[in-house]
């Protein structure tokens, strides 16, 4: 896309101009003409909305349009009178002439100047980005509301009567219109309906027909031919453009706004708020339209420059009898679709509009007001974007609230306030949508790294890792507490908060941390935080929270992804382990206090495991080796286990000696050690499984002291093996252990019970 006049080198201008004429001029001129043909009736009609002379609409479509194009950035944006803005102008100014005794036209010019100035400032202060935060729902809702207002306001024009007391409020206008219905001028109504039907049905025959122009021409022609505008019609006379203010075929439009030097304080103050609203609305409209068309044309827009363009357009316009304008959606779309290529297309449309004034002023004067009203009512209907209503309705209750809040306020409040309501609502919506931290849970993978799971989907674990992501503003912090708590399971011992991806002001992040820390402490759950950025670290230090959480539980953000998370995870598990040990220790001491002594508490877990498939020789050697390390004289049986490790049999020293010494007779008492050893060895190959005792009870750790004692007697066992649930040996309870158990249960003090000597 070539931008004419964009180069600062003036010497290059002729060349560039030639280039432009060769490449884009014809396209732009055609597009401009199409826009003008469509725009002229629109411009006149919109002036009617604002209660201003239709010729002012034409001025605005010339001056403001051309200026905005020169200083703006969009190639296709056509600025000029727009329906919603005109409605706001009406709402802002209609009551003021009577109040301040100044002409309406001067008030409107002051308003236009102020609006332009504000927009210009927005542009040069680079506040263009702000518009992005105004929700589309606001635009849809506001436009629809304005459409309803326009339609209701134009009813009187299409019905051909005037409302005597100039009502402004929606309800009043509607009521007065209904009351005045008997005064309906059926000539006017007929003209309005002809225009409306033309605008609706002509495009269905051929899209290229300039329906508005044709409709107005037909109805205007009819009225002119039948002379309905003649004073002879009496009460049935219809109003035409000339009655409001005649359009003359001269371009004597420069007019210095009288109220500018000096601006009357009270009036300026009263208009000021309206001007801000109007400026914002104008910028929203222009920006969203420019964006919409840029998304199709692929042009990159500079919103700040677009704002400057709008501002300059309105400022300059205020010196040329223009009212505030903005981007017109319909004309912009036509400009793009009919092949407009550069900003010159809009300038061409201004030129063609001017030509229209010069050539057809006398004809335009005869356009009936009712025809323009008919056009407006159709336009008003199209302003209600049914398609987007459905979309917005389906996109959640907040969007719905903004949409209907804005629309409703247009009907109830002064229109300028409706804009503020809309902006306010969309900011609330924005905060709602973005001011919500997303919570996910990180679950360490077996290899390395983490799986990120939706919140509360992670399997229950002692350590819960919560990843906080997104923007957070203060009010949401409180909700977040409760959400965070939902990740806790009865198993949870440690919560890790990963705050690296959380974007929040330090004080907000602090507030969350502080509250969460307190609440977890109450539940006796540990808190470990990771991904702490320097900024937050500083705030944490200052508030003492760093100390409360404990430096060992804080891990600072590192360049390496997940490093601090991994460290914190290691820390968390060590806390869990520490706790587990502590719990075990207290459980043990609890058991001591417990009067019911169990096998598990008195058994000695030191046991030698030996397979039942061995021979006596091996058992002998093993026990012999073992005895070298034991000073205790008391004999310990050897418990044998089967191939699966389950308790199988008991092998006592006596049974080994009995087997080995089975051949010894009294006459062998005199044998030398050598010979005796030889005799004993003879039975070395006997399998221990065959001599061991097999009928053993499978006592478990839960067996009571009484049961253990009872077993010693009934099973004639000195030492009772204790098994786990699978039958594997887990400990032994000897007679001494039992006596110790009894002593403990009876709170027996051995020293005091010693026999008195």
């Amino acid at each position: 896309m070539k931008l004419p006049f964009a180069g600062s080198d003036l010497r290059a201008l002729p060349t560039r101009l030639r280039e432009y004429v060769a490449s884009d001029a014809r396209q732009d001129a055609t597009a401009g003409l199409t826009v003008a043909v469509m725009g002229v009736p629109q411009a006149m009609a919109y002036a009617l909305i604002a209660g201003l002379p239709p010729v002012w609409g034409l001025y605005t479509a010339m001056v403001t349009c051309a200026m905005a194009a020169v200083f703006g950035s969009s190639n296709h944006l056509v600025t000029g009178p727009t329906n919603a803005i005109c409605m706001v102008i009406l709402s802002l100014t209609a009551h003021l002439p009577a109040k301040y005794d100044v002409s309406l036209l001067e008030i409107v010019l002051l308003l236009t100047f102020l609006t332009g100035l504000i927009q210009f400032l927005f542009g040069i202060l680079r506040l263009g980005g702000i518009i992005r935060y105004v929700s589309h729902s606001v635009v849809i809702g506001f436009t629809a509301g304005a459409g309803i207002l326009i339609a209701v306001n134009q009813l009187k024009n299409i019905l051909g009567f005037q409302l005597d007391d100039h009502p402004e409020r929606f309800a009043e206008v509607l009521f007065d219109t209904i009351v005045a219905l008997p005064q309906t001028n059926f000539y006017a109504l007929a003209l309005g309906l002809i225009t409306a039907f033309s605008v609706i049905f002509l495009p269905r025959i051929d899209k290229r027909i300039p329906a508005a122009l044709v409709g107005i021409a037909i109805s205007g022609g009819l009225a002119f031919v039948f002379g309905w505008h003649e004073p002879e019609m009496g009460a049935g006379r219809i109003e035409i453009v000339r009655d409001i203010e005649p359009i003359s075929a001269t371009l004597n439009l420069f007019h210095f706004p009288e109220l500018l030097v000096p601006p009357p304080y009270e009036l300026t103050r009263e208009l000021g708020i309206g001007a801000v609203a109007l400026a914002i609305l104008g910028l929203i409209e222009a920006a969203s339209i420019a964006r919409a068309v840029a998304s199709q044309s692929g042009q990159r827009l500079d919103f700040n420059r677009e704002f400057v363009g709008q501002g300059v357009g309105n400022i300059v316009g205020s010196f040329f009898s223009c009212f505030a304008g903005s981007g017109s959606f319909t004309r912009t779309a036509v400009c793009y679709k009919s092949g407009g290529r550069t900003r010159m297309a809009a300038i061409f449309s201004a030129f063609w509009t001017m030509l229209t004034i010069l050539l057809f002023a006398s004809v335009a004067n005869y356009i009936p007001k009712a025809s323009l009203a008919g056009l407006l009512i159709v336009i008003a209907y199209t302003m209600i974007d049914k398609h987007h209503f459905v979309i917005t309705w389906n996109s959640g209750k907040y969007s719905r609230l903004v949409l209907f809040g804005t629309m409703g306020s247009t009907l109830v409040l002064p229109l300028e306030y409706a804009i503020f309501v809309g902006v306010f609502l969309s900011i609330v919506l924005l905060l709602r949508a973005t001011g919500h931290a997303d919570l996910t849970q990180l679950v360490p993978r077996s290899d390395s790294g983490f799986d990120e799971l939706p919140f509360r989907r992670a399997p229950a674990s002692e350590v819960v890792t919560v990843n906080m992501e997104g923007d957070l503003y203060f009010a949401a912090a409180e909700d977040l507490d409760y959400e965070l708590f939902e990740c806790l399971t009865p198993k949870t011992r440690v919560v890790i908060l990963r705050m690296k991806r959380l974007r929040a002001v330090g004080s907000t992040a602090m507030a969350i941390l502080e509250r969460f820390e307190t609440l977890l402490r109450k539940r006796n759950i540990h808190l470990v935080v990771c991904g702490i950025e320097d900024r937050l670290k500083k705030v944490m230090t200052g508030s003492g929270l760093r100390q409360r959480i404990g430096e060992q539980n804080i891990f600072y953000a590192d360049n390496k992804l997940f490093q601090s998370t991994e460290l914190s995870l290691a820390r968390a598990w060590s806390i869990v382990e520490m706790e587990r040990r502590r719990a075990e220790a207290t459980q043990k001491s609890d058991r001591k206090l417990d009067t019911s002594t169990r096998a598990g508490t008195i058994m000695s877990p030191r046991i030698l495991r030996f397979g039942n498939q061995h021979q006596i020789r091996e058992a002998t050697w093993l026990i012999f080796e073992m005895m070298k390390h034991i000073e205790q004289k008391t004999s310990q049986p050897l418990f044998l286990q089967d191939a699966e490790g389950r308790l199988d049999a008991e092998l006592t020293l006596a049974s080994i000696l009995k087997t080995l010494g089975q051949d010894l007779k009294e006459e062998d008492d005199g044998l030398e050690s050598e010979e005796l050893g030889e005799k004993l060895r003879e039975h070395f190959s006997v399998s221990i499984g065959s001599i061991a005792r097999r009928d053993l009870p499978r006592t478990q750790v839960t067996a009571s002291l009484a049961q253990l004692l009872w077993l010693s007697r009934t099973d004639d066992l000195k030492t009772i093996p204790i098994c786990d649930e699978e039958g594997r040996l887990s400990g032994l309870v000897g007679p001494l252990d039992m006596l110790k158990g009894v002593g403990k249960a009876l709170d027996f003090d051995p020293e005091r019970e010693l026999p008195k000597v």
């Binding site: 006596a654 050690s673 051995p750």
Partner: protein, 154 residues
């Protein structure tokens, strides 16, 4: 032979015996066998913790209904008043200091004795524990060729 051993009178109660055993245990004494002497000071037998355990029991199976820990401990308290004589095993072989290993092995194989007292002139000289007999037997039976464990696969 162990010359260091605990000694108790057959007239002592089980409560006193338990005191001796547990106190000895605390002092790391061997408490696996206690020599019992009668009122005249003559050898009466050998008492092991196992005998004490058996002596604390009444005739009720603790798995029966109503057998709580409290009930059990109550009956144990009652039994602690019994004397050593009440629980002392009737038979206890003894040997002289000159008894050969073969004889000791034969005696050890007879039953579940913890030790064999060595008696000289009616006085207990010391105790030969079963573990001592086993060690002695094993040391003469085992030789370098047969040492160690041969796994069946080998």
């Amino acid at each position: 032979m162990t010359k260091l051993f605990l000694r108790i009178s057959s007239a002592h109660t089980l409560r006193e015996t338990m005191g001796v055993i547990l106190y000895g245990e605390q002092r790391k004494h061997d408490t696996g066998a206690i020599v019992v002497v009668d009122e005249k000071g003559d050898f009466a037998g050998v008492l092991t913790p196992h005998h004490v355990v058996l002596g604390l029991l009444n005739e009720h199976d603790p798995s029966e209904a109503g057998a709580t820990e409290e009930v059990f401990l109550h009956s144990v308290e009652d039994h602690l008043g019994n004397t050593v004589l009440d629980v002392l095993p009737a038979t206890q072989p003894t040997v002289s200091p000159s008894a050969p290993l073969a004889q000791l092995i034969r005696l050890a194989a007879e039953g579940s004795y913890e030790c064999i007292p060595v008696i000289e002139e009616g006085r207990v000289e010391g105790l030969v524990y079963i573990t001592d007999i086993f060690k002695a037997a094993a040391s003469i039976a085992l030789n370098p060729e047969t040492d160690g464990i041969l796994l069946e696969d080998e």
